[in-house]
Point group: C2
Chain length 514, copies 2
């Protein structure tokens, strides 16, 4: 990826900041040099291990698949001296892999979270099969490459393609390799280590909060380190201090019971193609403003410290537009500024057939798939309530299943709402807590500059409930390249990001101290 | 179908009108009684012939398929004494079947039009294969029935299901059976008969105008009778005097070059799901009003005679709503009132995956499929011009192919427009021409009441160009039940409609006179 959009002066300032951080004599030296040396002699073993991990199908709608992942990861950790157990909310639900490694004399405990399950793989356009990991050269060429036959170091700009490469098995692999590197160099962790690898994050974490509730003592920690999500677009190491919440629903609207010829009936019969468009444009405008009355009222005002942290982020927007072929953006000019507000995403809008299936017919139904990303202060229950009240005000009659003909006749506009179970609130850990500062300092020692600090990331995670239950601060330390195609076809991890991730995690394991 | 929405008083008035029409001594008696008697003894032969005709695949994107239909229909007509030839605009394009039968001493020539090709069959939900015609009992049960094993007369409420049953092979079958019935009863046509059966109407009639242009002398006629389209929803026999025009396009809009996680990027990256919704709602409102400035300026004002004809149509709307499960309508309360205005139909709107394929990703593209039904006075060229000017005014940069990254970066909103070739203007024959009145009188003699007169139907046909080229009036005499699912899955013809159609066409053939 090589980093984008950071001027030389800013970089110098950050490096000076890092030098200041390493001046504290109470802190152990970074293990970076030994870790790097070990990695250089083990590159192919690491990629082989990672490839094996990625080759296990892990869509959590298939319990047997995720159970195979859980068993495999448990085995990897047990071999490295961890005390491992599988935690399930109930039989027949995906397990979280829990692993523990005590450090004699340590006063602090740090719990590392990631998830080992992956997004569904049905997207069109996978170049290679999602569970047959394949290496490709740097973008934009992305040519297939036989990395096993390569001589010398692997090119850090190569990428390994496969579901969960970036989201999140890359994080799991980096932490395991970090342990191997530390062990090889004789370094011990500075704190007690707990690992919690979830198995159904991409299916909405329906049982994860319950798993935590049942194991509050086991999971007790002074700090949560969250490995989910991509790095900053600049390629600089970033720490984030929370996630937005989420609540989502699918809507179905209804036209005639049978398709009608649109020449004969188009001027008279309501068309689901237009109804879905009207529904979308009544919920938000093209620029992203949510039109549900009072929707922004619950949002926690942004603090000055948070504003300052956001303002300090390097400008990535021009390069991001270029990389994504975007001639404009919506909302405000700064990407991260949007993270402290809610976003209403239209994931899908579909009615009628296009292309070869097209016919001059009025469709019988239309569908819209919506997610709300919630800012701090909002709750899924309140958003659901406000959304439904607004739809009713807009003339919709809400049903929970397929409406019968009587219901369709009795109400001008019928909408079926299927809310996803679960949902989560946002979470934000203060940037200036001692634990927060210790993480930033450790990473600074490893990477040689003050890491970027993101007050909150745009994506959601099941961690909000967990943070609340464990009453522990949480920081996110992501290692995946921002352009890892997570949630989409051709998900990948840049090899250089795996190398850097091993160093960063090894640093945290070895010298975290507060 | 049984007819819907006609009060007893209206019916009496119509019957009285029909009595007055039959009082003219210069007109030959209707052949109805003999035709009905013949049909009663030949029901299974007629349905067998019809079923054979429907079993020939006829989607005009497959030339070999439509050529087989043309050959088959030619053979049917040649056996009945017609002079038949295939007319093609150019080799490799679908043929129109032309057939001629001179009537010694006749002063008038009437050309009957229908099309033998059918809509694409890709729609989901066909109960039986579109080219394996199958009989089912009356709605709503629609149970499979072995009509070949039935004893006694076939139930007129049964329906034969298959592509083109209603649109338009039913019309072709009715006319051929009408000839057979007249021949059996010794009746000769009252005029010279020409038949023209088109082979690519459902693909936009790209070559039909050229076929006519090349054969103006051959096709010379005093009247065009058009057999396409469904009957009035009341089940009463209707004559129509024209069709709306049409012009259509597919639009593609563009988001990021690659799918983006909607949590991280949803507040900043433009989303094609919203862009398509915004596009639709900028073109028309939910109630059907077209928002393109000046769009209604070219529409020919509706004459008082036309208004009176529209007002005289029986109210079908309440029963239509009931049948279609509609709790409301858009536009004005009367269905046919909309036919004298343009309609903008959104045939399809699609962006992002719903259901099992859904992912929290911002889609890369969105598509909208649009057709305009044109009122008299409008032209496809002018509509295209106004639409594009409006899109430009709305900030869209129009491209004709897939835009490259440079184009996407250079313009905030890029839209690819693919206009369908062809398109047609509307056509309207005056209701009070002698030929128009003669058709109404003939049908009145057959059905026993004054037929409904529809100044124009909502659907389009390739006939506008033809009417202009042949400089002949045109009336539409449709026989298909209004709920024939034309253009959709499970297209069908009600058997009673086929019986009535045979009588109506036999009447026109035998006693049309002006």
């Amino acid at each position: 990826m090589g980093g984008i959009g950071m001027g030389k002066r800013a970089l110098v300032a950050l490096v000076l900041g890092a030098v200041a951080a390493t001046a504290d004599p109470a802190v152990a030296a970074s293990p970076k040099a030994e870790v790097q040396a070990w990695r250089r002699t083990h590159e192919k073993e690491i990629v082989t291990d990672f490839s094996n991990l990625l080759s296990l199908p892990n869509v959590a709608t298939n319990l047997a698949d995720v159970d195979r992942n859980a068993a495999y990861i448990s085995d990897l950790l047990a071999k490295r001296g961890f005390k491992v157990q599988l935690l399930r909310a109930a039989p027949g639900t995906p397990a979280s892999v829990y692993a523990e490694l005590k450090t004699p004399g340590a006063k602090r405990t740090v719990l590392y979270y990631a998830h080992y399950d992956g997004q569904p793989i049905g997207q069109k356009g996978w170049i290679t099969s999602p569970f047959e990991p394949a290496m490709r050269t740097a973008l934009p060429e992305a040519k297939p490459i036989d990395w096993k036959a390569a001589t010398g170091p692997l090119d850090p700009d190569w990428r390994l393609y496969g579901r969960s490469a970036g989201d999140d098995k890359g994080s799991i692999q980096a932490l395991i390799s970090a342990f191997d590197a530390l062990k090889a160099s004789g370094r011990k962790p500075s704190v007690n280590i707990k690992l919690l690898y979830e198995g159904e994050e991409e299916q909405g974490s329906a049982h994860f909060a319950e798993i935590v509730r049942q194991n509050l003592d086991l999971l007790k920690t002074d700090l949560l380190v969250m490995g989910d999500g991509p790095m900053h677009q600049s390629g600089k190491q970033m720490i984030n201090f929370g996630n937005r919440g989420i609540v989502s629903f699918d809507a179905t609207v209804y036209g005639p019971l049978k398709p009608l010829h649109d020449g004969h009936y188009g001027s008279w019969a309501p068309s689901p193609t237009v109804m879905v468009a009207d529904l979308v444009m009544s919920l938000r405008d093209e620029d992203g403003r949510i039109l549900i009355p009072g929707f922004y009222d619950d949002v926690t005002p942004v603090s000055e410290a948070t504003k300052a942290a956001l303002a300090a982020l390097p400008p990535v927007e021009p390069d991001l537009k270029k990389a994504m072929g975007l001639g404009r953006n919506v909302g405000g000019p700064r990407l991260a500024d949007g993270y402290l507000k809610p976003t209403l995403n239209i994931r899908a809008i579909n009615a009628g057939d296009s292309g070869p299936q097209a016919a001059n017919a009025i469709a019988t139904e239309g569908r819209v798939s919506v997610d709300f990303r919630l800012a701090p202060g909002e709750t899924p229950a309140r958003v659901k309530e406000m959304t439904e009240a607004y739809l009713v005000q807009k003339g919709w009659f809400i049903v929970r299943g397929t409406p019968d003909t009587a219901a369709r006749l009795a109400h001008p506009k019928v909408i079926r709402l299927d809310w996803d179970e679960g949902g989560s609130i946002a979470t934000m850990t203060p940037i200036d807590l001692p634990a927060s500062k210790a993480v930033a300092a450790s990473i600074g020692r490893t990477v040689g500059y003050e890491p970027l600090k993101m007050p909150i990331v745009g994506a959601s995670s099941g961690m909000a409930d967990i943070v609340n239950q464990l009453k522990a601060p949480m920081v996110g330390v992501s290692i995946a390249n921002y352009d890892d195609n997570q949630h989409a076809q051709n998900e990948n991890l840049r090899i250089g990001n795996l190398w850097d991730g091993i160093e960063v995690y090894a640093g945290l394991l070895a010298d975290l101290n507060w």
